[in-house]
Amino acid sequence: MKNDAGKWEKFFKWINGETTLDSVILAKSRRKRFLKRKLRQQKAQIMANKLKRSKRKIENVICLIVAAIFIGILLYTASGLPICGRWENPANNEVTKRYIEKGVEETGAVNLVSGMILDYRAFDTFGESCVLFTAVICVAILLKRDKNNTDITEDTETAEDDAISNADGNLILKLSAKIVTPFILLYGIYVILNGHLSPGGGFSGGAIIGAGLILYTTAFGQESTRRFFTYETFKKISSGCLLVYCFSKGYSFFTGGNHLESMIPLGKPGNILSGGLILPLNICVGIIVACTMYGIYSFFTKGDI
């Protein structure tokens, strides 16, 4: 009977969201450390409240006025714009006309946006991939766990978190992730491979694959993702794809800005093997984006891939 009461107590705690079912004991030991750290937190809280009371009011009014003036200036400037949605607008000039009318013939891609960003303006997309890569490197520099930026308490807490999530079972999440993840990955691959035929391409497909990997990791833990995707593979794959992109488009620098004809034939527009370099470049971009999405997520949650 006494045991039963303990169970009910645990159950109510779980309902209230205070603790997970199998982690009451763990939580007690954690609470001590938590209280110790709480001191600094309380200090910061008191500081914030004090500041909120004293001088925020005048600043807020000034901010409001500044923002209102800003919006007013922007609206006044934009009122000189031509009416939205007309063909005669200066934004729709001869460049647009050329891209649309010659795009299919020159790039071989039916999706004109894909043809534009990966053929006419491939350097722009290369820059975007570099920006993403730089972002994930910065996040890794700031958040990657090593001896210098973690202490023992943090390590034990991470271990406890893993223990709690393993003990809980997470049956619904695990089962649905098991069913859904293959389809998400397959759909992402489809979107990447059809980037030159239908809406989508490297960026959206890569984001879908990254989301699938994140779902898999939340359900089964990082250990199971590490079986096929470690920090080493992350480094090799993403820098390798960036280099492939760089070499397949960067030769224009050495040929004096002239765009050489690529060796790959353009093929018949509308077929999956068409568009020359667009399909391989889409795959490169997709892999970079997937790696970046998953990398950012795992650096934020566990500090390591």
């Binding site: 750290r37 600094r40 910061a44 809280q45 500081m47 500041l51 909120k52 807020n60 901010c63 409001l64 500044v66 923002a67 209102a68 800003f70 919006i71 922007l74 609206l75 006044y76 934009a78 009122s79 009416i83 939205c84 949605g85 007309r86 063909w87 607008n89 934004a91 729709n92 647009t96 006309k97 891209y99 649309i100 009318e101 795009g103 299919v104 039916v110 999706n111 004109l112 946006v113 534009m116 960003i117 303006r121 722009d124 820059g127 975007e128 920006v131 993403l132 972002a135 994930v136 910065c138 996040v139 700031l142 958040l143 239908s198 809406p199 960026f203 018949k268 527009p269 509308g270 650096f299």
Partner: protein, 130 residues
């Protein structure tokens, strides 16, 4: 001015959204909410760019194989490409700044910018006269 608001409501909406994001950036004390404001500003810029490329009655620029692609049929594809660049940069900036916020939180245990600045001042005073 009123004529502009009624005729170019996409641009007007984008500018007002930009202002909301800007105000959020200025008024919020919580650092994560500040970056949500920054993201609202980004969204406003996407809306503005897409509105510039839109042409009434034209469809998405995906040609049918075998048919001639006519400029009188499709919307302007260039702003779409620019929006893609914008999205990528916004994702990168958001990830980077949130990583910085996480590091700040690990040190000062607070997300309030003012409290962080005050604690920083205290730390400096402690260093100068121990």
């Amino acid at each position: 001015m009123l004529k502009f608001l009624t005729e170019n409501h996409y641009e007007a909406g984008a500018i007002i959204l930009f202002g909301i994001g800007f105000l959020n950036l200025l008024l919020q004390d919580n650092l994560i909410k500040k970056f949500i404001g920054l993201n609202i500003m980004d969204t406003a810029v996407y809306l503005f760019l897409v509105a510039q490329g839109y042409i009434v009655g034209h469809t998405a620029p995906i040609a049918q194989a075998g048919e001639a692609a006519l400029a009188t049929k499709f919307v302007n594809p260039i702003p779409s490409g620019l929006v893609l660049t914008g999205i990528v940069v916004s994702v990168s900036v958001t990830a980077f700044s949130l990583a910085l916020v996480l590091r700040l939180y690990k040190k000062y245990k607070t997300l309030s910018l003012d409290a962080v600045l005050e604690l920083l001042k205290e730390d400096k005073e402690d260093e100068s006269n121990p």
